[in-house]
Amino acid sequence: MPFIPHTLRDVNSMLDSIGASSVEELFSEIPNSIERTQLMGIQRGVPEMEMTRRLAERAKKDEVGPCFMGAGCYDHHIPAAVWDLASRGEFLTPYTPYQAEASQGTLQLLYEFQTMMSSLTGMDVANASVYDGGSGLAEAILMAIRCNRKATSRRVLVCGGVNPLYVQAARTLVSSQGIELIQCPHEKGTHTIESLSGGDFAALVVQQPNFFGQLENVDAISDWTKSHNALLVAVVNPITLPVLSPPGEWGRQGADICCGDGQPLGIPMASGGPSFGFLCTNMPYVRQLPGRIVGRTKDRDGEIGYTLTLQAREQHIRRAKATSNICTNQGLLVTAATIYLSLVGLRGIQSVASACHANTTNLVNRLCRSDQIERTFSGEFFHEAAVDLHCDAQFVADKLLDRHGIVAGLPLGQVFSDLQSSLLVCATEKRTEQEIEHFSDALQECVADG
């Protein structure tokens, strides 16, 4: 009985006290008509040692070489201290900080997180996380619909440069509320306001840098959206924000809602989860923000302290009228991200961002020296770029993995049927000159073969 402390003596004395003759008796209210579980096929328990051996064998199978894949999940360096601290029992094992007095550590940290996120995005407030970038986009869209009281339409324009996996998730999650997501096709990798379809719409979603790594003209898109009385939802990668213009400052009025995935901030790739989604907005819309929010207040002695606030937005108070059904969020990852940002610091995070840009630029330049490879789209990119291999990109990627253990970028054909020959590559600050050189040589070789 792993993890169960009872000795036989304990069990007997507890049964005595209850006045039951057996543990089974405690289940007597379960009607006999309900068949007992058999647990067929579940093996006998094994100790930690054996469990570890089995799973370690499996983990070993998945070890691969350097990663040049981005597409929403990035291989950044994580300072050792981040998880040494985040894994402390005091951060790892508490529940949601409903009992504020017993949770000041987590609450103050969340307040600091909200501060950093709202400053990074240039918005007034941030919540304490939603599940991930994809579901975060869904929440942002639902929120935009709620906030845009003037709009009669439940249509939302979604730029073609928004991460298609986010859009898929959002589509699932908002599908039953009569909201229509209208995809605006990109033109050669970005959007001009001319290309954005008109008609009635309540909000527009744009991503910067977009899924292809390209920089959109967000100022123009923002102004255009506002001129249609629609709300602007910005999807951003937080690692770019120390150097890129924040959504709060896009165009004349800035974005209204900003969301994205926090994985780049000290969260391991870990197959894509757990990471966390973030959601920011400005003060006028704060009561429409879903998820937990921490506020600074005072205790009885007048000491500064922190507590969850505006809970009347949430399911446990507001039930069917809540802004969202979210309850458990991604707190631990927010803890890690907050520690990450503090450890790496302003200068560090600026350096990380610029090094990612420089490394990807270096990679793309190297690749494009080959006759067979060129950029799929022109225009500026940040730390991802689509390159056209003029052959089956999936085939090339598979070969690189097989032969060299390199996780090449994403074959864009997986998500866009018209981009079968393109690969979306990314070189973070973690990729060395040698790795970039090796990858680019190996890729060119595979392309030449293929």
Binding site: T106, V125, S245, G345
Partner: protein
């Protein structure tokens, strides 16, 4: 010092050099895309950051430090061994879009977990995609909606939910475009069957139930409920938050449920992380299997692979960018492997034993059980109405005072149905001595409530902070730090 935020100790131009890679040029970026003023990111040394967050952490209660009888939350021991395996480099460094050929390890883990969860829930198919219980609920209702739609049954626009239900149930129904029809709970904690019969109709899409219910008793008429709802053409949704009570004993599949979610962060012992992450896999019987959210893991052509829209064309779709909270799923598998079949049964048995013992002992020292004639399940409800009335000491005061004894407060004021209640869930991983200590503390507080009520009302006294002013927090919203100058 104690009060300082990380921003208070930040200083312009302080750099943690060991965390600065060589920076690159940004000169080629269009000027309008470039940020003009730097964001408010701390500028501290590594040791300052470490001290700040180490010291903050010490202000928290946590399972690793305290007894945490928080009803409905199943705050059991979170095995460190599960945390370690999930942190192995092969799992941790895997990019979510890496080809299946180089992901057989993690895929096999997910596949095994799907199988185990299908067995313990008595269902036919599982998707691990939902990232928490609430997302599992949403996925479940979306599947129900898809099912009815497929049947051409498009008028079903109501979901029936007991008044005592958890807030996520009605909130989810709304998110899924359903209206909520409430059904009453009777004086014994069971659903009022007559009221249910009045409530069901051809508009009923489903009923959402927890069993044991949120009243902490086993819903004895579950078969009757199932018949009533099924007969009306509705489906049964099982909110798995309380699965710990019956793990390995009986399963939702055998109680007539069609679809359910599990909270792996409850029943399968993954840590709560101060709010999350969790995982809320959904399990369904065969009539709903084709609607499961993607990705699902299959075993095809002798290798494990992702099943997506192609293989499951009727899927409700994707719920997140990648595969939910994979790291949590690995932890849950690790736990399941350690428990094994014999361990699972013991979970329910000892969780139930602990709850019944604690209920009995509290009753013995004078507390009132909300359902004194019912057996406790893995948890039970105490009501402090008489204390509130006679002594003007409320459930929240008891809860706060417990903190001074190093014990986390039980869940308070949930379900709303039971006035001045404490929902108490000891879990199976607590020993008898710990339960006895809790009884002693409660007894002590009760005596205080009589002799020295202000001590209880003013609690906590010995923590890092006294009781916090929530009203001020909501009225004078302060949600982000700003430099002292800006404040004036």
């Amino acid at each position: 010092m104690a009060n300082e935020t990380i921003f208070d100790i930040s200083q312009p131009n302080r750099i943690a050099h060991a965390q600065c890679p060589e920076s690159g040029s940004l000169a080629d970026l269009p000027p309008n895309c470039v940020r003009k003023t730097p964001p408010l990111i701390p500028e501290v040394s590594e040791i300052q950051a470490i001290r700040h967050y180490t010291n903050l952490s010490q202000q928290n209660f946590a399972i690793d430090r305290n007894f945490y009888p928080l009803g409905s939350c199943t705050m059991k021991y979170n095995p460190r061994g599960a945390h370690r395996v999930a942190s192995l480099p092969g799992f941790l460094n895997r990019h979510p879009l890496t080809a299946a050929s180089a992901s057989q390890g993690v895929l096999e883990c997910l596949f095994d977990l799907q199988e185990i969860l299908a067995v313990v829930t008595g269902t036919d198919a599982v998707s691990l995609a939902p990232m928490a219980g609430a997302q599992g609920e949403l996925a479940g209702l979306l599947m129900i909606r898809a099912y009815h739609n497929e049947q051409g049954d498009t008028d079903r626009d109501e979901v029936i939910i007991p008044t005592a239900a958890h807030g996520t149930n009605p909130a989810t129904a709304t998110m899924c475009g359903y209206k909520v029809a409430e059904v009453q709970v009777g004086g014994d904690g069971d659903v009022d069957l007559e009221d249910l019969k009045r409530t069901v109709s051809s508009r009923t899409a489903a009923i959402m139930l927890t069993n044991p219910s949120t009243c902490a008793v086993f819903e004895r008429q579950i078969t009757e409920i199932s018949d009533v709802v099924h007969d009306a053409g509705g489906l049964l949704y099982y909110d798995g938050a309380n699965l710990n009570a019956i793990l390995g004993k009986i399963c939702p599949g055998n109680m007539g449920f069609d679809v359910l979610h599990l909270n792996l962060h409850k029943t399968f012992a993954t840590p709560h992380g101060g709010g999350g992450p969790g995982a809320g896999p959904v399990a369904v019987n065969n009539r709903l299997a084709r609607f499961l959210p993607i990705p699902v893991v299959g075993f095809v052509d002798n290798q494990f692979d992702w099943l997506g829209e192609q293989q499951l064309p009727q899927t409700i779709g994707r719920l997140s960018a990648f595969m939910g909270n994979t790291g949590i799923l690995i932890r849950a598998l690790a736990y399941a492997l350690m428990l094994g079949r014999e361990g699972m049964v013991r979970v329910a048995e000892h969780a139930t034993l602990n709850a019944n013992y604690l209920a009995k002992e509290l009753e013995r020292v004078g507390f009132t059980l909300a359902y004194p004639n019912r057996k406790a399940t893995h948890e039970f409800l105490v009501t402090l109405t008489s204390e509130a009335k006679d002594l003007q000491v409320r459930a929240m005061d008891f809860a706060k005072r417990l903190l001074d004894f190093g014990i986390h407060a039980p869940t308070t004021y949930f379900p709303l149905l039971v006035p001045e209640c404490l929902l108490i869930e000891p879990t199976e991983t607590e020993c008898k001595e710990q339960l006895d200590e809790f009884v002693d503390a409660m007894k002590h507080i009760r005596e205080e409530a009589v002799n020295d009520p202000d001590t209880v009302r003013g609690a906590p006294h010995g923590l890092y902070r006294k009781r916090l002013d929530e009203v001020q927090a909501a009225r004078e919203l302060d949600l982000a730090w700003s430099p002292p100058d800006d404040e004036s």
